[in-house]
Amino acid sequence: MREPTPTVFVVDDDEAVRNSLRFLLRSVGLPTQTLASATEFLATYPPSQPGCLVLDVRMPAMSGLELQQQLNLRGATLPVIFVTGHGDIPMAVEAMQHGAFDFLQKPFRDQDLIDRIQKALAKDAKTRAALKEHDRIRRRFETLTPREREVLALMTQGKPNKVMAADLGVSQRTVEIHRARVMEKSGAASLAQLVRMVMDLAPEERTGG
C-alpha cells in the first residue's frame, strides 16, 4: 500500500487569505488543501492523512484554539502552525501551551512559513513512523503464547536458561525452544534489541492484557 502524499491543510475564514496561501504553497510544490472553517476541516480530515495544519487563530463559530482542542481530544497528532493577526499574541501563547507546533504573525515572510511547514511535515513523518513501528512491534508480540510471554519476561530480566527452567518447572531444552520462538516471532536480532522493543510497549501490551 502506498503512503498518501503529505498535505498542507489551510483553515482560514478569509477567502482571499486562503486562496493566496494555496497559490503560494502550490508555487513551491506543496500539495495544499484549503477549508473555510474548523467544522469543515473536522468533517473532512482523515486522521490517517499525513501533513500539517496552518490554522487561523481568530475565526467565527469555532476558533482555531477550539479546533486545536478538538484535535487534542481526538488524539490527532497533526502538527499545527497558527497564524495570528495584530494583537492576538496572548491567543498564540495559549495555543503554544496546548502543544501548537509554531505560530506566525500575519502578514509573514513566505520563507518563514515554508520553513515552518517543512519542519512540521518532517515532525509529522517522524511521529507517524514511530507510531507505525510501535504498532508493528505490538502486533508481533500479540502472537506470543502465554508461556512464551512468561519466558520473555524472564529473558528481559536477564535470567539464564537454567534459572528460567527452575522458575517455570520445565526442562532447559523446553526453555531453549520457547526462547527461540520469542526471538523468531518478535523479529529481534539480539537480546538487546528485544529489550528495546519491550520498553517501547506499554505494560499491558507486554503482558498481552
Binding site: D14, S20, S27, G87, D88, K106, F108, D110
Partner: protein, 266 residues
C-alpha cells in the same frame, strides 16, 4: 458646587452579594442603556477589528507577491498564473483601501442622533460599566461632576464611547505602571462657554516625545494597542464641533479632556 463619589461607595444601600445561580435583577432603565452601549462595539474593540480586517488583504497581497517572485525565478513560468496573482493583488489593495475609507468616515457615516443632553447624566449611564472596568484593573474611579451645566447637543452613545475609551486608556496606563493606589477621575465642568469633560489618571503620563503623535492613527504606546482609540475619539469629538486634547495631570499622570459647545437657544 461639586459632587464627589468614590467607586467603593455608591449612594444607597450596599449591593447584595451576587449569587451565581441567581443573577441580580438589573435596574430597568440603566440596564437598558448599558446594553445599548455594550451592544455597539466600543471604540477599542472597533479599532482592534479594523486592524484585524486590514491584516487580511495585506496578508493576501504579501502571499501573492512572494509567490509571483518565486514563479518568475523558475524557468517556464506560466503567464496566466502570474496574471491571476497580480489581479488578486490589485483586488486586495482595493479592499484594504475600502477598509481605511471606512475608518475615516466612521464618525460621519454613523447615523448621528443628536439631542440636547445633560453631560452628567450621559456619564452616569455608563458609570456601572466603567466601575466594573476599574475593579478589574484594581483602580478607583472618582467622579467630580459640576451641577447646573448647560445642555449639550450630542449623540449620547458616541460621546459615551469616547468617555469609555478615555477611561479604559487611563486604567490601562495605571496597570502598566504596576503601582497600587491607581485612580481615574472623571470631571465635568465649564470652560469659557463650553462644557468640559476631563478624564485624568495618576499613572505615568504621556512622554514629551510622544505628545505630538498620540492622536495619530496607528500610533500606540501599548504593546497590543491598535493606535486607533484616540484617533477615532478625536474624530467623534470634532464631528460634534468640539476639541479633544491632552494636558499633564498634577502631580502626575495624564489628563485627556474634551470641550463641547453648549446648546444655543434658537
Amino acid at each position: 458646587m461639586t459632587r464627589v463619589a468614590g467607586a467603593a461607595g455608591p449612594p444607597g444601600p450596599p449591593p447584595p452579594d451576587r449569587d451565581a445561580t441567581e443573577p441580580r435583577a438589573p435596574s430597568g432603565a440603566l440596564h437598558g442603556r448599558m446594553l445599548q452601549v455594550s451592544r455597539l462595539a466600543t471604540i477599542g474593540e472597533m479599532a482592534a477589528g479594523i486592524a484585524h480586517e486590514l491584516n487580511q488583504p495585506l496578508t493576501a497581497i504579501a502571499n501573492y507577491a512572494q509567490a509571483c517572485d518565486r514563479l518568475l525565478g523558475k524557468p517556464g513560468a506560466d503567464p496566466r498564473d502570474l496574471r491571476t496573482a497580480l489581479r488578486e493583488i490589485a483586488a486586495q489593495a482595493v479592499r484594504a483601501g475600502e477598509i481605511i475609507r471606512r475608518v475615516r468616515t466612521l464618525a460621519r457615516s454613523q447615523p448621528v442622533e443628536r439631542s440636547a443632553a445633560d453631560i452628567n447624566s450621559v456619564i452616569g449611564e455608563i458609570l456601572e460599566l466603567m466601575q466594573t472596568d476599574a475593579r478589574v484593573h484594581r483602580a478607583r474611579l472618582l467622579l467630580e461632576l459640576t451641577d447646573g451645566l448647560p445642555q449639550v447637543s450630542i449623540d449620547r452613545v458616541q460621546i459615551q464611547h469616547v468617555i469609555l475609551n478615555l477611561v479604559r486608556n487611563g486604567l490601562e496606563a495605571l496597570s502598566g505602571s504596576g503601582s497600587a493606589g491607581g485612580e481615574v477621575r472623571i470631571c465635568s465642568g465649564r470652560t469659557g462657554g463650553d462644557v468640559e469633560v476631563a478624564v485624568c489618571d495618576n499613572g505615568p503620563g504621556v512622554l514629551p516625545q510622544e505628545l505630538e503623535r498620540i492622536f495619530d492613527p496607528f500610533f500606540s504606546t501599548k504593546p497590543s494597542g491598535t493606535g486607533l482609540g484616540l484617533a477615532i475619539s478625536n474624530t467623534v469629538v470634532r464631528a460634534h464641533g468640539g476639541t479633544l486634547a491632552y494636558r499633564p495631570n498634577r502631580p502626575t499622570g495624564a489628563c485627556f479632556y474634551f470641550l463641547l459647545p453648549h446648546e444655543t437657544a434658537e
